[in-house]
């Protein structure tokens, strides 16, 4: 008798269907992966199974848990959820009560699952099982990192020894290294506790790594379902094929790295952050985000700066483009020496930055054309006509049409916006372009196109790239040389191929280990 059986599930909001005709079965301790892009209805399906749909949702079809339908009345459904189903959600930042210590929140889960006595020791056991130290239980959520918070969520889900664990995008908000650790943890827990696992994600590699059976969803419908080997090996539906293809990057490194003369050099750059001290109290020792970093970028070279989140790579990038100031050490661009925000105005058109989040990089109240042409203020001698022509050229260069310029940012997709962001960065014809996680916020299918675009632009305009990322696969597709950073220092350097075969520094090994197996 199957643990979970969903027949003809339909979810609609005021008449508009979001999920239609969904069938799904899950045997005890069996694992099913659900893959689909944002808006495919996969999260709503998970919420429906747990009886957590918002009250405005209209649900049709049947959901049987161990043969009996989900109880209608809220109290019994809540008790069932508490005892038999564990859930882990996507946003670790807001999924925990900010005003309550994490230990208490775990204890509450244990208390609710029935055993009233001795839950103190159980909390410690759970913390240990998810890889957290005992003293973490007295911390508040904001005092823990994203990964640690996700582990607390998992501990809470396991408190009632559930038979079914539903994980809805548990790792997509984490950086790669932590992501891999959490996935391994889920794998180990599901196996040890013989729990059924419903794993939902938009990352095909994560789903493939964890679940023997995969179900592909698109726009509220099940496109294809079946064993992992069948879905990955010879996908029947076109959509599935596109998904699998996009997950494999075509690796195309340049034949020979052009050896131009040095364009930019950094000498012993450091950045110390003072902790916020009171007006009168003496300043307390601050943290050193960037520690004596030296590097050189040659003309038309593409260098990647990789490392786990918090290693100081973004801070270094901000200093290089002049958004921040180094506490000591100097930088030289062409013949000019500067320390960061004291970058002279004449040089600003030569260095530009592409931001990570396409949604936050455009002023919602300004037409996209106005935002793209904003950097041209740095070139006062350009007249109006030259200004407009240059913007039009750049927009066409990134594969979009100039007549889109009069529209507003919220009318474009993430991918299109990132292309506009690149156009804005290139409009002043810079020589050095710093790219901060250029594709990590995009859907998998769009990433490939943008990377290809970046590759072409570099060749056409002879640009020098400095790419900041923690995703080694993306780096290998774009960079001639890789610098690995850890705790503010560059610990290893080399060509991607060499680093991938013979990593020397253990940080590089950790990054490599975090990569999910090839499909």
């Amino acid at each position: 008798m199957s643990l979970l059986e969903v027949k003809g599930l339909g979810i609609a909001f005021s008449g508009r269907p979001v999920v239609e005709g969904l069938d799904l079965t899950l045997a005890p301790s069996e694992r099913l992966g659900v893959i689909g892009e944002s808006g495919s209805g996969k999260s709503l399906t998970a919420l429906a199974i747990a009886g957590l749909l918002p009250d405005t949702a209209e649900r049709t079809g049947t959901i049987l848990f161990e043969g009996s339908p989900l109880p209608e009345d809220e109290a019994t459904m809540a008790r069932l959820r508490g005892k038999r189903i564990g859930m882990v959600f996507q946003e670790p930042m807001s999924a925990l009560n900010p005003l309550m210590q994490v230990g208490e929140q775990i204890a509450e889960a244990i208390f609710l699952s029935g055993d009233r006595v001795g839950y103190g020791t159980q909390v410690l056991a759970l913390l240990d099982e998810v890889g957290l130290e005992p003293q973490h239980r007295r911390r508040y959520p904001h005092e823990l990192s994203g990964g640690q918070r996700q582990r607390v969520m998992i501990a809470m889900a396991l408190a009632s020894r559930p038979d079914l664990l539903i994980a809805d995008e548990p790792t997509s908000a984490l950086d790669l290294v932590t992501q891999r650790q959490v996935l391994d943890l889920l794998d180990r827990l599901a196996r040890n506790r013989r729990m059924a696992l419903l794993f939902i994600s938009h990352d095909l590699k994560a789903v493939a790594a964890l679940c023997p059976r995969i179900m592909v969803m698109q726009a509220g419908r099940v496109v294809e379902a079946g064993p992992r080997e069948a879905i990955l090996g010879h996908p029947r539906e076109r959509y599935t094929r596109m998904l699998v293809g996009a997950a494999r990057f075509r690796i195309h490194t340049l034949a020979n790295a052009p050896m131009g003369d040095p364009l930019f050099t950094a000498r012993q750059i450091s950045r110390r952050f003072e902790s916020p001290s009171l007006l009168f109290l003496p300043r307390r020792a601050g943290t050193l985000a960037v520690d004596a970093v030296s590097l050189t970028l040659r003309r038309a070279e593409s260098v990647a700066l990789v490392g786990p989140s918090g290693c100081g790579k973004s801070t270094l990038a901000r200093i290089i483009v002049g958004l921040d100031r180094a506490t000591d050490g100097t930088m030289q661009f062409d013949r000019t020496v500067y320390h960061g925000s004291d970058l002279p105005g004449a040089l600003r058109p030569d260095i530009s930055l592409v931001f990570q989040d396409p949604f936050g990089s455009f002023n919602p109240r300004l037409r996209i054309g106005a935002s793209v042409s904003e950097p041209l203020r740095l070139l006062p001698d350009l007249d109006e006509a030259a200004r407009r022509r240059r913007v039009a050229d750049m927009v066409e260069a990134v594969g979009l049409s100039p007549d889109m310029l009069s529209r507003y940012p919220h009318q474009f997709s993430g991918g299109q916006r990132q292309r506009f962001a690149i156009a804005r960065a290139l409009v002043t014809r810079p020589r050095l372009v710093v790219l901060d996680e250029p594709v990590s916020a995009l859907d998998v299918s769009v990433r490939g196109e943008v990377l290809a675009l970046l590759h072409r632009l570099r060749a056409d305009f002879g640009l020098t790239y400095l790419v900041i990322s923690h995703d080694l696969d993306m780096v290998r597709a774009l960079a001639d040389r890789v610098l690995v950073m850890s705790a503010g220092r560059i610990v290893e350097e080399g060509r991607p191929a060499k680093l991938f075969e013979k990593p020397e520094h253990e940080q590089t090994r950790a990054l490599l280990a975090a990569r999910l197996p090839e499909l």
Partner: protein
């Protein structure tokens, strides 16, 4: 917690000093001369001058300001020109009316506002919800001196349950004092209760859609239990912010309500003292009011720090 508290205290002291300086300067610039006012229409110029000297009005402003601040720190607010009594005694007498009135109004507004807000949020979208919110809209829109008068007409003139105004001193008859504060504190509390109800409802409705509530439900709590155990405390944060601001509005309201119910409060004291140019009394009274308001804001700030650990505990390492 310590740096958070120290930071707030520094702000508190700075605000007070600025308030004292501005009050002193503003009042010094007031036209009209207290001595002339005391002696009336037919008094001779010599008599007026004699009184000015007697009251020490001739000394240079800075010296008087320093003397005033120094005196206040030791609790001596100086002598009132018109009534000859120590200002601190006069203020204490009036504070025995205004402080309990403001406090009662605050308690009433919380006692009425919060439960109604929670009720409206729990039955969101129902008739009760829209009804309560319409009531809250009206509550804010009624001028409190008009509402006060309607209360008096109903409860004092027709029903004779409560006095129409005036104040029986505490030491003479505590019960009488309380009775004379009932209607004024309700008149004062109405708009604040309405605002509190709206803010509480909005806060609770927002909380219901928060992620940690969904997690709590996932742990096995019903929506009601989740909101009660996790939601209410988080919903208190915006409510606390409003409470902090409300004391300032209550103080403004007391001045009007004291007129409607002819209560011997601090507000009316300031009024009469200003029209009689009893500047030293006005200064003292204003400072007491300003201290009251800033003190409440400080207390609410500290409460905020207590309720919300994010303010007082260091952020996670990067």
């Amino acid at each position: 917690m310590i740096p958070y508290v120290l930071k707030r205290l520094a702000g508190f002291v700075a605000t007070l000093l600025a308030a004292a300086a501005v009050t002193f300067l503003l009042l010094d610039a007031l036209p009209g001369d207290p001595a002339r006012f005391i002696l009336g229409i037919n008094a001779s110029p010599e008599a007026v001058q004699a009184l000015r000297l007697q009251l020490g009005l001739e000394a240079p402003p800075l010296e008087r300001f320093i003397r005033w601040i120094g005196g206040m720190l030791q609790g001596d607010f100086g002598l009132s020109y018109t009534q000859g009594a120590p200002v601190s005694a006069l203020i204490a007498e009036r504070l025995a009316v205004t402080f309990p009135l403001a406090l009662a109004a605050m308690v009433i507004s919380i006692a009425i506002g919060l439960p109604l807000g929670i009720l409206a949020a729990r039955r969101r979208g129902s008739l009760a919800d829209t009804g309560l919110m319409m009531l809250a809209q009206l509550g804010v829109a009624v001028p409190n001196f008009w509402f006060g008068m309607l209360l008096v007409l109903l409860f004092s003139v027709t029903l004779r349950w409560l006095p129409p105004g005036g104040f029986v001193p505490w030491d003479e008859n505590a019960w009488g004092a309380i009775r004379s504060l009932v209607l004024p504190s309700f008149a004062l509390a109405l708009p604040q209760a309405a605002i509190l109800a709206r803010v509480m409802r909005t806060a609770l409705v927002d909380v219901q859609s928060a992620d940690y509530i969904r997690t709590a439900r996932a742990k096995g709590l019903t929506m009601g239990e989740a909101v009660w155990r996790h939601g209410v405390r988080n919903a208190l944060l915006p409510v606390l912010t409003i409470l902090g601001l409300q004391f300032a509005f209550l103080v403004a309201g007391t001045i009007i309500v004291e007129n409607v119910f002819y209560l011997p409060g601090l507000g009316r004291l300031i009024f009469t003292a200003i029209s009689e140019r009893d500047l030293i009394l006005v200064r003292g009274a204003i400072i007491v009011l300003v201290v009251g308001v800033t003190l409440t804001m400080l207390v609410v700030d500290l409460l905020y720090g207590l309720v919300d650990p994010r303010l007082r505990v260091r952020r996670a390492s990067r």
